[in-house]
């Protein structure tokens, strides 16, 4: 049964149809999770004992930073699968992740900067965590530029996959930077091995926003993948038929 499912999903026509049916559900789930997360984060959660209300930036900053790493891993992983097994859908998912990944990286940097100004006393500091996250943004932008520069879609997919895989080295550097180097950025809160050092009333909105961002990523990557499929298959009968029926 699973084999059958993957075989069908590998067909662009089937993928286009199923993803189209999935989109409204993902959109609704995202909005629900985001509204709940915002309500708990901005209204219900109490202010922090040290940072007052400014810590509420965390509810967009931290999930955005998590997504910037998660999406990169998905992008590089899908790129590797596309490279080795020549699965077209993996190539499509890989390149469709780049823009949204870059967006979350940008958000993590910008919201972190806005949070850093009142709390740390500076918009920016060249510490290892901030610098490695900035390098991640450059990696995403490099991958997007490389993809746009090559006309043949399959060649472009291969080239970007290789660049993405090389860049994976940056992911553990970002994660462990706060432990390996003396950074201004504080250590991990939620992913510590012992109990998370965050009160439950603040952890709930954080996890809700993280869920919302995951759903949002699924939504956007499918929307982009559908465009990519249309472009790649533009000379096939089913795409022409679909376009002319609208």
């Amino acid at each position: 049964m699973f084999n059958n499912f993957f075989h069908k999903m590998a067909s662009p026509k089937y993928f286009y149809r199923i993803s189209g049916q999935l989109l409204p559900w993902l959109a609704v789930a995202f909005v629900l999770a985001a509204v709940a997360g915002l309500y708990y984060g901005l209204v219900v959660a109490p202010p922090d004992y040290q940072q007052g209300d400014s810590y509420r930036i965390m509810f967009v900053h931290v999930p955005a930073a998590w997504m910037s790493l998660f999406i990169y891993i998905v992008m590089a992983g899908a790129g590797a699968i596309g490279l080795v097994w020549r699965i077209k859908l993996a190539e499509v998912v890989s390149i469709s992740s780049a823009t949204v990944g870059a967006s979350f990286t940008f958000l993590a940097l910008v919201t972190g900067s806005i949070w850093g100004k009142p709390m740390w006393g500076t918009w920016w500091v060249w510490d290892a965590r901030l610098t490695s996250e900035l390098i991640l943004l450059f990696l995403y932008l490099g991958i997007i530029a490389l993809h746009n520069a090559i006309d043949d879609k399959r060649t472009a997919a291969r080239a970007t996959a290789i660049l993405a895989i090389v860049g994976v080295i940056n992911i553990p550097i970002i994660h462990y930077s706060v432990e390996w180097w003396n950074t201004l950025h504080q250590g991990p809160t939620v992913t510590k091995f012992d109990a998370p050092s965050i009160h439950i009333s603040m952890l709930i909105p954080l996890l809700l926003m993280a869920l919302a961002f995951k759903l949002y990523y699924a939504l956007v990557v499918l929307m982009r993948a559908r465009c990519e499929v249309l472009e790649r298959e533009r000379h096939t009968g089913w795409v022409k038929q679909l376009a002319e029926s609208q």
Binding site: S54, A243, E244
Partner: protein, 56 residues
């Protein structure tokens, strides 16, 4: 809690609302972009198909 207090964010209104505002804008742009691209692609493909048929 009243609305003014909520909007004031304990004096951090500028920082908190700027962060959430930028996030909202970026998330919206990432949805609007591919939605418009898909419509444009479908129009382009349909036009190309009609032209090809006329030429044939």
């Amino acid at each position: 809690m009243n609305l003014n207090e909520f909007l004031n964010m304990g004096g951090y209104a500028f920082y908190v609302w700027t962060s959430y505002g930028i996030t909202l804008l970026v998330l919206l742009a990432n949805v609007i972009g591919p939605a418009r691209l898909r419509r444009k692609l479908l129009v382009d493909i349909a036009r190309a198909a009609r032209r090809a048929r006329k030429a044939a």
